[in-house]
Symmetry: C2
Subunit: 381 residues, 2 copies
C-alpha cells in the first residue's frame, strides 16, 4: 500500500482506510501475461481530485499513475447549453462511438489496456498489443491513448453498426497519464496521423451557435444508427460535452429492456428524458413525433416480450458475443478477470485454428428468474 | 403512548422506540371537527402482523384499532396465476376503481375517513359524513367500510373517467376493524343493498380457468378506460389479487411522466412490465402490438414534452384539482393536514355560495426545477 499512498500523496493510514472501504481495489491479476506489473490498485470511486478508475501501478521500472477517464457531462438541449458551456470557442464535433472506454498505456516493455473502472483487462490488453504500435510511447512516455474499443468481438459492448468483426481501437484523446491534461484536437490528429492510429471521426468544427450545422451532423449520425457526438473545445481547455442521437437512446433502451431485470431501472429514465428534450428542441412534425413514440414503445416492449417468449420456450436469456483469443492462457486469464468482476458467464469454444473463437455468454439471472417466476404464476407486489 | 402499546400488545418501551423511529406517527390534527378523538397514532410501516396504515385511536368512548388495508398482490399473467392462487374456488371479478383507498369508520358519534397510510383526512371525513349514512355502524359497530373515493373533486387522485364531478365512495370490502377479517362478497352485497351504499361493480363470478370470460371483462374495462379488476374468492378466505388494464398502465405512465421529476423513476418500470406480460399473454396481432407500442411511447413522451413546453413558456407545472368544502374551518384544517403530510401546494378560492370551491394546486418542484435547469443550459451527469 506504501507505493499507492506515496503516488497519490496520501498518508499510509488514509490509503489503508480506502482499501478497507473497498474504494482502493486490486486492478490486475498477477500473471506472466502482465510481466511488467508487480502490483496495481485502482480507485473504485472518485477520491479528492482523482477520478474513479485511476490506477496506480508498481511496475518493474517504477511507480506509475494513470488517471481515470473523466466523466463527460451531457447536453440535453443544444441551445443554450453549448453557448453557455463553450462561449465563443471553436468546437469540434467528434463522433461518440459505442464501445467501451480503454486507456492504452505502456508499462515497462509492453502495452496494457485499462478499462473505464481501472481494471487491466487481459482481453483488451491482448487486442491492444495486436493492433497498436508502441513507438508512440517512446516519444511520449508520459501519455496515454484514450480509445473507444469498438466491434463485434467485444466482451462488454458488442456492436454491429460499424461493420467491425473484431475489436478496433479508435483514439479520441491523448492525455498526460499523471495530470490528465489533454492534448488539443489538432495535436492529437497530427500524432494519430504520424503513428497510424485510427481516430473517432471529427464531422465538423464550428461555433456553438451554428445550430443548423450541428443538427445536420446529428441527423446524419442518427440515420446511420450512430451514438452521438462529443463536443470539444478544439484547444481542449474547456471540458467536452456529449449529446446522443435518438437512435442511440432507443438502442440503449432495447438493450436495457431485453435484460430488464438487470438494467431497466437504471437505464430507462435518463434515455427517455433525452428523447423528450430532443423532440421538444427539434420542433418535430406530428408524423415525426408519432414515429418517435412508436420507436420508443417498440424499443421498450419488443425486447421484453422476446425475452418473455424465449423463457416461455424453456430457453435461458444470455447476453452473447463472439470473442477471439490468441491462446488458452489469455482465455483462462480473462475468465479469472471476469470472476474478479463478479460477472456470471459461460464460455463455449467455437473453433480453434491458430486463434481460439469462443462464444461468451453473460447469464442474466435476474431477468430469467423474474420472467420464470411470473410465467409460473407468482404474484407481484 | 400507553394506550397504543396496550392496544397493539406491545411493551411501552417498544412503542416508544417505534415512535422514535418515526414508524408510529400522529394520525390526526386535534380540532373541533374531530370531536370524538382525543389522540390517534398510525403505523407508517408494517409492524409484526399490523399492516402499515393501522390506526390506534383514543376516543371519548374508549380505545379503537383500525387495521391498515392489506396490500393486494398482483397477477401479471392470468394463467396460471389465478389457478395457482385460487385453486378451484369461485371468484368474483370486481372492478378496481381508480381513486384513493378510504376506510370509513365511526368513532364516538361521528364518521371519519382514514386514508391508506392511516391519516384521518379532514376533506375525506367531510365528504364521508355528507354521503354515508351512519346507521350501518349501529348494527356493525366493529366493522369498517373499505371504499374507493372516486371523482374529480379528489385531492389525491382526481379522475374524470367515471363522470363524477364530486367525490363518491364505492364500497369494496367490509372488514372487522380489529382483526381485518373481511365479510364474504355476498354478505357485503346484502349489506350494501340494505344500507344504500354504492359498490364497486362485480362484472362476473366464475372460476379461475375461465380465461375467455375473464379476458372479455378486462377488454371491456380497458375500452372504457377503467383501471382493472380485483379477483376475489367470493368467500374472502383467500387474499384477493389485482390485475390492471393497458389503459390504466398507460394512464399511470402519462401521469408519472407529466411530473417526471417526482414520479417517473418509481412508477415506470412496474407499468411497463405489466404491458409486456399482457401483450405476451394476449397473443396480439402485429397491428394490436404496434398500437400498444405507440400508446406506450405517447404515454411517456407526450406529457413530458407538454411539461417542457409549459416551462419554456414561463408557466409552472402543478397537479390541479377542484375541491369543494362546506366551511372555511374544514378548508383550513385540510391545509394543516397537507402541511403535516409535507405536501407543497397552493389553494385558490374559485367561488363561495354556500359551499366553497377551491382550486387545489400541488407544486411539482422537482419537475419544474429540472426542466428549467435544462432549458437554461445546465448540463447533465
Amino acid at each position: 500500500m506504501n507505493f499507492v499512498a506515496k503516488a497519490l500523496n496520501l498518508s499510509i493510514s488514509a490509503a489503508e482506510r480506502l482499501e478497507e472501504r473497498n474504494i482502493l481495489r486490486k486492478a490486475i491479476i498477477k500473471h506472466p501475461f502482465f510481466p511488467d506489473v508487480i502490483e496495481a490498485f485502482r480507485l473504485d470511486k472518485k477520491f479528492g481530485f482523482y477520478e474513479d478508475g485511476t490506477v496506480v501501478v508498481k511496475a518493474t521500472d517504477g511507480v506509475r499513475v494513470f488517471r481515470g477517464f473523466p466523466k463527460i457531462r451531457r447536453a440535453l438541449v443544444l441551445n443554450p447549453t453549448l453557448k453557455k458551456h463553450f462561449g465563443d470557442r471553436e468546437i469540434a464535433l467528434e463522433e461518440k462511438m459505442n464501445g467501451y472506454n480503454v486507456r492504452v498505456v505502456k508499462i515497462g516493455e509492453n502495452l496494457y489496456g485499462i478499462t473505464r473502472r481501472g481494471l487491466i483487462c487481459p482481453y483488451t490488453t491482448e487486442k491492444a498489443r495486436e493492433s497498436i504500435e508502441s513507438d508512440f510511447f517512446e516519444d511520449y512516455p508520459d501519455y496515454m491513448l484514450c480509445c473507444e474499443a469498438v466491434g463485434l468481438a467485444s466482451p462488454y459492448v458488442p456492436n454491429e453498426v460499424y461493420g467491425i468483426e473484431g475489436l478496433d481501437f479508435f483514439l479520441f484523446d491523448i492525455r498526460n497519464s499523471r495530470t490528465n491534461e489533454s492534448l488539443s484536437v489538432r495535436e492529437k490528429e497530427e500524432i494519430a496521423e504520424s503513428y497510424g492510429f485510427r481516430m473517432a471521426r471529427v464531422y465538423l468544427t464550428t461555433h456553438p451557435d451554428d445550430f443548423n450545422g450541428i443538427k445536420e451532423v446529428i441527423d446524419e449520425l442518427n440515420s446511420n444508427r450512430r451514438e452521438g457526438v462529443v463536443f470539444k473545445d478544439i484547444e481542449m481547455k474547456v471540458d467536452p460535452l456529449k449529446y446522443t442521437t435518438s437512435s442511440a437512446n432507443t438502442s440503449d433502451l432495447h438493450y436495457a429492456f431485453r435484460y430488464f431485470g438487470e438494467y431497466a431501472r437504471d437505464f430507462m429514465l435518463a434515455r427517455i428524458v433525452r428523447e423528450a428534450f430532443q423532440s421538444f428542441e427539434f420542433h418535430e412534425s406530428c408524423e415525426e413525433f408519432n414515429e418517435r413514440c412508436l420507436r420508443l414503445g417498440k424499443a421498450i416492449l419488443e425486447p421484453m416480450i422476446s425475452s418473455i417468449r424465449e423463457c416461455s420456450e424453456g430457453k435461458t436469456i444470455y447476453d452473447e458475443s463472439v470473442l477471439v483469443f490468441s491462446s488458452h492462457e489469455v482465455l483462462e486469464l480473462f475468465k479469472q478477470h471476469l470472476r474478479l468482476l463478479g460477472v456470471d458467464f459461460k464460455v463455449e469454444i467455437l473453433d480453434e485454428n491458430g486463434e481460439i473463437r469462443v462464444k461468451f455468454k453473460r447469464v442474466m439471472r435476474s431477468t430469467n428468474d423474474r420472467i420464470r417466476g411470473i410465467l409460473n404464476g407468482s404474484t407481484w407486489r
